[in-house]
């Protein structure tokens, strides 16, 4: 069950999840916001946990984000998370904001905490008010019994157009203490760099200062959730919440504990990148995971711009869908990425193991082999700028007929 990778002290826990770290109980149920499927998820930490969060950059932030920011700003401790799917509570004005606060209060009452120790997340349709009656009835039905998590119900209840549940877990030994980090996520359409219609929930039993926790989440998000794109749209509701309840028993790390923080960061990155890739793979209508690595950049920002530009290009995505080794579109997307340190005569491009461009002009390759490579379920494109030593990796998916089908009729 446990796979140890020799190259690192970080151990991936195969069936681990958001409830694997000590002291977390989660569940989910159907309360009627969606027609049939689960739509209400909850998380409870047996002791108040330090909390960090990152949010969408969309100007139209949904009501629950304001409530969550409010809670985390109070004292940095969170004990409960309440989530609904089916309704994003976005563009809902004063009523929506009031409802999000009520939702927070109901769940706080249920777990016996103060409202300020609860965060609220919502995902789904925009511009409709929450059905508070159904929500109230749903929250009333929550039963929290220690050691009785239903992880599957939690993971199911946060989904919208996702086709599978997303989870990850790692363990790492730091100064003699085994630290566990677990996570769950939803995403699918409307995901792009800078996080969009994406909810991420990360738990850990590490004892770490709130400042250090926020620092770790922010840096790791830049290399994981912010490097995925499905359709270039950024939603009103994206949030990643990270809770650390300290039950692993280590003495609290602060930003001064550089070695411990660095190792914790690496472990957190494993979890966040795993969730990010699962989200990209589950892009609406996706049949393939697309990974774009950019190497040899003079500055990291340019590597990131190029990787995101390629992974987000509709023409690259349709070519990947159609198994067409159309490197011209890769070059094009690099060219309009806004990166300023590209030398067009110095660029190398690989489709999987096949070199297709060298020094900016076509390199002979077997179309047949490249097409056959593109039939895989995971596609790797590599661009080497041959200019410096900075790198970046972005993840996305192909663009299929099903993307159009799903989004031409989402609300109906």
């Amino acid at each position: 069950m446990i796979n140890t990778e020799a190259s690192t002290a970080i151990t991936k826990i195969e069936n681990g999840n958001i409830a694997s770290p000590k002291g977390y109980i989660v569940g989910g149920l159907h309360c009627g916001l969606k027609r049939k499927r689960h739509d209400l998820a909850w998380l409870y930490s047996v002791v108040p946990a330090k909390a960090a969060a990152v949010y969408t950059t969309n100007v139209f932030q949904a009501a629950p984000l304001k409530v969550t920011q409010d809670s985390i700003q109070q004292n940095g401790f969170i004990q409960g998370v309440i989530v609904n799917s089916g309704n994003a509570n976005a563009c809902t004005g004063e009523t929506g904001l009031k409802n999000a606060y009520i939702m927070r209060e109901w769940y706080a009452n249920k777990i016996g905490s103060t409202p300020e120790d609860v965060v609220v997340l919502s995902t789904g349709v925009i511009g409709e008010q929450l059905n508070m009656e159904k929500l109230n009835e749903g929250i009333n039905r929550i039963e929290i019994a220690e050691n009785d998590s239903s992880v599957e119900n939690f993971e199911k209840a946060i989904l919208t157009t996702d086709t599978f549940r997303k989870s990850a877990c790692v363990q790492v030994e730091i100064n003699g203490h085994i630290i566990t980090i677990g996570g769950a996520a939803k995403g699918s359409g409307m995901i792009k760099p800078n996080m969009a219609t994406m909810l991420g929930f990360i738990t850990t039993d590490a004892n770490i200062s709130q400042e250090a926790l926020q620092y770790c989440l922010k840096t790791v998000t830049n290399d994981s959730f912010n490097m995925i794109t499905v359709d270039g749209d950024t939603s009103t509701n994206d949030t990643v919440v990270l809770l650390a309840n300290g039950l692993a028993g280590n003495v609290e790390w602060t930003l001064q504990d550089e070695a411990a923080i660095k190792l914790f960061q690496s472990a957190l990155k494993e979890v966040c990148q795993s969730l990010a890739k699962q989200i990209a793979r589950d892009g609406e209508g996706a049949t393939k995971l697309l990974e774009v690595e950019v190497k040899g950049a003079v500055i990291k920002e340019d590597a990131e711009k190029i990787a995101k530009s390629i992974v987000g290009s509709s023409l690259v995505k349709t070519a990947v869908y159609g198994c067409d080794a159309n490197w011209g579109r890769i070059i094009c997307a690099a060219g309009y990425s806004g990166a300023t340190t590209i030398d067009p005569n110095n660029i190398t491009v690989f489709i999987g193991p096949h070199k297709v461009v060298e020094n900016g002009v076509p390199h002979p390759f077997s179309e047949e082999e490249a097409t056959s490579y593109l039939a895989n379920e995971k596609i790797q494109l590599t661009v080497d700028l041959n200019g410096g030593d900075k790198t970046a990796t972005a993840w996305g998916c192909d663009l299929s007929y099903d993307y159009v089908r799903i989004n031409a009729s989402y609300r109906t």
Copy 2:
């Protein structure tokens, strides 16, 4: 045949085209770069014309663009335009550049001008060398006979995945002289703000200084070709060329002739916006023209960003395709546009005549009527920021199954 609009001195010439201004002869033929369809187009001005041009912002500029820039920089006069479709002559290295210069020379010999008086444009597949034998044979077959334009052949020979020919023409009387401006264009996929895989050819018989001509083209392009998007990809080959041969007989206008320049600019804008809209409407797989108008902005840049963001959103485009009055996606796209002067609580959104959002929250509307409106072939979305008096309009199209079909198999 001539429609005069009372509100303006600019007259739209219904069947006018690129050969309507005095002194231009055009044609097109099939030389074998494409399998069956026309692939070689040419234009000849009976006297050398002043020339202006704007180019793609893509880092990977194709070889013909370098040759065209070179020609225009020599002395600003151009007498001939040679264009091929089927092959973009992009990412073709030194050989490609040499071939573009040879292509220029062959056509210069044909029309009896110097190579520096000829510009070269190419569109089609990236990364393959031109078949110079076929090209040579094609250019040899060109016959230029005065008053014997084949506009249809020109318009056909510049197309790639376009489904219809694109042309426009207006006349305007300036200081007692009738000035005619005509144009042709190709575009379709890979078009986005800042011009992409788009070729535009504009002719006029006005007598105007090269400096003033370049100024007019640049400003007008910002309100027309740079405000269209099909899939957000920007190509290596986009070029708009504007020739002014002076045969209308007016005394040369310079930038100091403000009234004449302003009127000429307005007339040029009519032609460029007409061509831009035709390109947007003919986006790959498009079934509808989408026009997004943003009003009430504090700064024009924000109006432009929001209009482009909405018209380029895959989620808005699929909703329009599916006749789904999904205003949430419109709000979302406005929110992530990068515009900084939006007040989320002050925004109004219209789908056609139907107000769907007021003060940032849903405004009651008839779903049935909105859906029925969205079944039209031309869709207008209006966003009022209620903040200032700046406006911008962007054009695009819906995103259909056919877009995926066309682009999943473009090269094969």
